[in-house]
Amino acid sequence: MKLTILFGGASFEHEISIVSAITLKAKLSSFDLTFVFCDQDHKFYLVEASKMKANTFSKNQHKKMPELSIANGCFTQKSMFGATEYKGTVLNLIHGADGEDGTIAALLDFFSIKYIGPRIDASVFSYDKRYTKWLCSAKEIKSVKYELLSAKVHKDITIPYPVIIKPARLGSSIGVSIVKEESELDYALDTAFEFDTCLIVEPFLVGVKEYNVAGYMANAEIHCSIVEEPQKNEFLDFEKKYMDFSRSEHVLKADITPALEKKLIANFKKIYRSLFEGALIRCDFFVVDGEVYLNEINPIPGSMANYLFEDFQGSIEALANSLPHAKRVKVTYDYIHSLSSAKGK
């Protein structure tokens, strides 16, 4: 199968995206892969598979690689005599800003390029944690209570300590801190405000169980991965989550009752349906007293959560063959024609 991996992006998670792309190169080894790197200046480069190493990008070697432009239905490489087209389906693997905020979705939709990844509306509701809360109330899914803080308006937090403070628009755990007492609050706020002007404050639930489920829609059916109980050391910070790099080994299925598993999967499907079609997403849930709460949606999970799927290549292939088609309006000029004929011209 032909697949173009699009990675990088002008995002705090730029480097994680590079790690994800390198992992997928190994995980999708039987595919015919093309690698397209988007640098922080929004230029696209064609990267040879053999150059897919973290150093390539940190040393700016990509600048010497062929630059691509985007055209209707494909990426193109211009040369002296015409242009080479790269037409395969794109896997949007840009985490965070650009990739998950709807920018890349809009770009690919506009140029009629088929892609795996969240569509614009799905991106909007999963990227900004405020809108995920709204989505939860609209879809009647439980989520942890929260308060909003903005850099502009001073407001006191009424949730009792310990609380967890998160930038509203960042994936992974960048800028997130747990605040146990007031003396720690100021630094935690400065840390989070470095990344976003809007913060979410939630109670930090001690001893909560956390479960992750990934899944995708193919052949009109939602396919879910195994349920994973992520290893956590209070909570996963950025380094633990990603800097053990690939997370490519298979993980064990969480030891939970069939009833809880059913409940988690039902919640996943409720979130996914009629919004995330075309994407492979991972939802992170909290379970408190048998109740399932949505913590966050990762519409482009790190390394595409490959470790949760038994047949990852088969899953991606099935998803690629069931992508939704963006309907494009056909402009017929009927109205102008009818006016013209009425006027007898």
Partner: protein, 244 residues
Amino acid sequence: MAIKSIQYNQHTINMSYEIINPHAKVDLIVLHGWGSNKNLMKKSFSPYMDTFRHIYIDLPGFGNSTCNLMLKTADYARIVELLMIHINASKDIILGHSFGGKVALLLEPKVLVLVASAGIYIPKSLKIKLKIVLFKTLKIFGLAKLRSFFVAEDAKALSEPMYQTFKNVVNEDFADEFRAYGGKALLCWGESDSATPISSAYKIKELITDATLEVYDGDHYFFMNKADDISKHIEKTFLKTLER
């Protein structure tokens, strides 16, 4: 990392800083040199001295801290002081490398750690003097375009306010300030430093009443692999302040 907005002379400066060991009671503030940033300092010193609360600061115009106005060294000290007030930090120990050493000195901490510090005026060599005369002559002939061949490595690619700032802070003589400092000073120097030569260290040692000098192998950045030993000396120096 964290960001704090500081108001200074009708300008807003976003100061990037990072705290390590947040619950320790004694503060160690670490200031980097010209053209450097807090990460370099953090990489060297964060594994050591875990009884101190380490505060790594990006000086205005460097790392992730912003700067859109021209500053003098005293302004730098005042801005760092304002940040310290905001984050409730005290002047127990301040470590400064190179340019950061001058800022540290003006903050007058209890323990001043100068790592290859700037602040002693070194007369320009004949070569540099000739270069300046040559460029000034070229300028008369309208060849100012050749500036990049002449301008100091540290001044290349600087924004206009930062270039003005650079001209302000370079070649300052802080002999009087060194003499006026009344706390305990620990001087750490690389023997083959060419940016702030070892002779500066001897001069500073003479100027400051209570100063100890540790000389190491290495150049201007010798501390990067000597942080372990420097840290031990810092702890020792700090303990001495408690004896009195």
